[in-house]
Symmetry: C2
Subunit: 415 residues, 2 copies
């Protein structure tokens, strides 16, 4: 114990090695502009998985794959106890960056490698995981893998989920060879920590190196489908129209205005819109669009969800169209374990970094793991706040700082 | 002459034969629900063209194909004069019906067949034409073929036009074998008449059999492209967003509200919207959308165009995004030849039909031909006003009435 704590003060991660892995994984599914497209369970995702698994094996980790494709690599401890786990995800959105998710997984591997180099064996086992379909860009809900891992989403329900291309999670898992035998929903984890890029502008704006994440804002995703009447744009009087596209547009404007009215931390985004038949001179018969609402305040979020639905129903009635809605994701705000937030803050200060407590604007696997064990997160700055964007960037010095905090945090938790 | 006029009173079209041809052409590119998808210059369009050309040849017409793929079949008259022409188009929108355009072409063939049956030869030649890409659903502008035929659109410019799938008109014409040798832009046509379904609800609503079309409303199509910044929906404060999709939504709402404010015959439609990357949790970086504005009053239409652009620029500035616009189509209101409108009305009354003068809400090839010769149109009712819709329908009795009026009108004009 005391030997480990002594060493801890001097053990640091190897930045070039970590950067090399980030670059190599970023080359898998690379797209123009420096970004990455590795939608969950595509061929690109498989290639990324294969690469990370090969690194896990090189590091001597015991690799297991569960029924939803989550991959966990375990480094044995001196005692056979529930592990201290870190990790994140390696799937991306269609125009993703190379840090989102990937940094957390690869920093976890780097922690293992650095401990190997230093000859340190912890009391508790250490585990590095990457969870399936965190982004939800191809299959809803997001954070699917961690939800199945933790137990709140039944495996079969997840496997039956149909994605944007009409195929299921189960089919795709089988196709890419990641429907593994490890059981889900009955894990014991001592603690979970996740290093992640902020994906927002706050840390950079305030020139702070480390964010000690206090929790995650609540998230509510709806998909609305509007069914109107397709008709000729030149011969149908305005009063006789049943324009599905107009209802989508009205709701998009409404949620923007609502976010301003509610103020505070309320966010509202219409990211996806599709009109049918989508021709210049045909009134849209059908529109499908999504509304992403987020707030750190659960009550305000519920109000936003409720008012959006009421407005959509109202405007659909006025236009004489049918409206239906389904919930794609619904996560209440999460508060991370207070002791974990304290530890992140203390370690960052000990390393001489500026640090601030802050909520997370995005959803993360750590918020699901928080249902089964003490969980926490470390944020590092995103240049210009850009994320879900090919230009996503975190500076090398911030990667070093974040990964070193992760290393010490895992050492403390595993002691 | 007097022999022809005597026979005219008893010569009628053969409805079952006409309906058979409508059904056979409707089977080419048939889609679920009884509709047709024969976008201009696709394989389906080629198959439809081949069928109609085979009928033209069966009727002994002299068939020519020009450089933009317009097909004209000519029946010789007693004198070598400019022909009386009828026709329309056989391309459809993606979710089109089987009458729009097709009726006018096939009724023209039926007029020829009925005159053959009755052994009538007219003084002037008669011609039946179908013009390329009237709909503009794949290549803008619409009425492309008639514009090239008439001479206001240079052939090369039309051939270089790139469609929604990135390929050009020229490539596709060559591919389907309809880049013909006949010259364009130097035709002499004595008169042009087009039978068409109303595509709106007015005739059915007033229980009137025949519309004597007085003109065509002005049409203005814009395509707007908005360039914002793609960013994470959960971490980007509302005040820092540059949401391209929101601008599209605001403009869609604006043009609807503007049409109400301007009132009268002002129509406004946003039929096409595409957002990128089109994901639930990513703020759209790019939105491309169209605005279709129409009015019988050219001054009011110009005001609508101007105010829409000003609003779009304004809202783009507020959102901090770049906006560009291109004109896809721009047609001033057209008034048809007064003598032609009188003839349609008089013939319809002589046949015992109810008739009303009315403007056309949709654009038609006849409005382009009106620049080179006296032109007119005959409308027949559309059930429930549906058009550009698979459920498009015109009752058999109305088809009979319209085709018989067309026959007598062509006989009068060719005398």
């Amino acid at each position: 114990m005391s030997a480990a704590l002594d060493l801890e003060r001097t053990t640091r991660i190897d930045l070039p090695r970590l950067l090399r892995r980030i670059a190599m994984l970023g080359d898998v599914g690379a797209i123009e502009g420096g970004g990455v497209c590795r939608l969950a369970l595509t061929d690109e995702d498989r290639a990324g998985r294969d690469l990370v698994v090969s690194w896990m094996r090189e590091l001597g980790l015991a690799v297991s794959v569960d029924g939803i494709g989550n991959v966990v690599g375990v480094r044995a401890g001196r005692e056979d106890l529930p592990p201290v786990m870190t990790g994140s995800h390696i799937d991306t959105v269609r125009t993703g960056g190379r840090y989102d998710g990937n940094l957390g997984v690869l920093a976890g591997l780097e922690v293992i490698a650095a401990l190997d180099d230093a000859g340190i064996v912890t009391r508790r086992p250490l585990a590095v995981a990457f969870f399936t379909n965190e982004e939800g860009a191809r299959f809803a809900p997001d954070m699917m893998g961690s939800l199945v891992f933790q137990g709140d989403l039944p495996l079969q329900q997840a496997l039956d989920t149909r994605g944007i291309d009409g195929t299921t999670v189960g089919e795709n898992l089988a196709r890419i060879g990641y429907a593994g035998p490890a059981p889900v929903g009955r894990h014991r984890v001592h603690a979970f920590v996740e290093l992640h890029v902020e994906q927002g502008p706050v840390l950079e704006h305030e020139d702070i190196a480390i964010g000690a994440v206090t929790g995650v804002q609540g998230i509510h995703w709806s998909e609305f489908t509007v069914e109107g009447t397709s008709n000729h744009a030149g011969t149908t009087p305005m009063r006789l129209r049943h324009d599905a596209g107009l209802v989508a547009a009205r709701v998009a404007c409404f949620v923007r205005d609502l976010s301003r009215e509610l103020g505070g931390a309320q966010l509202a985004t219409v990211g996806q819109v599709q009109c049918f038949p989508n021709l210049v001179n045909v009134i849209p018969s059908r529109a499908v669009f999504t509304v992403d609402l987020r707030n750190t305040d659960g009550t305000a979020l519920a109000e936003a969800v409720q008012r959006t639905l009421a407005y959509a129903q109202d405007v659909a009635k006025t236009e004489g169209v049918r409206l239906s809605r389904r919930t794609l994701a619904d996560f209440a705000p999460v508060a991370f374990d207070a002791g974990m937030v304290d530890r992140v803050e203390a370690i960052a200060r000990r390393h001489g970094h500026s640090v601030r407590r802050m909520p997370s604007g995005a959803g993360h696997d750590a918020q699901i793991l928080a249902r089964m064990c003490p969980a926490g997160m470390i944020f590092v700055p995103s240049v210009a706040g850009l994320s879900h964007n090919v230009a996503e960037l975190t500076h090398d010095r911030d990667i070093q700082a974040g990964a070193d905090v992760l290393l010490d945090l895992m050492l403390e938790l595993a002691a």
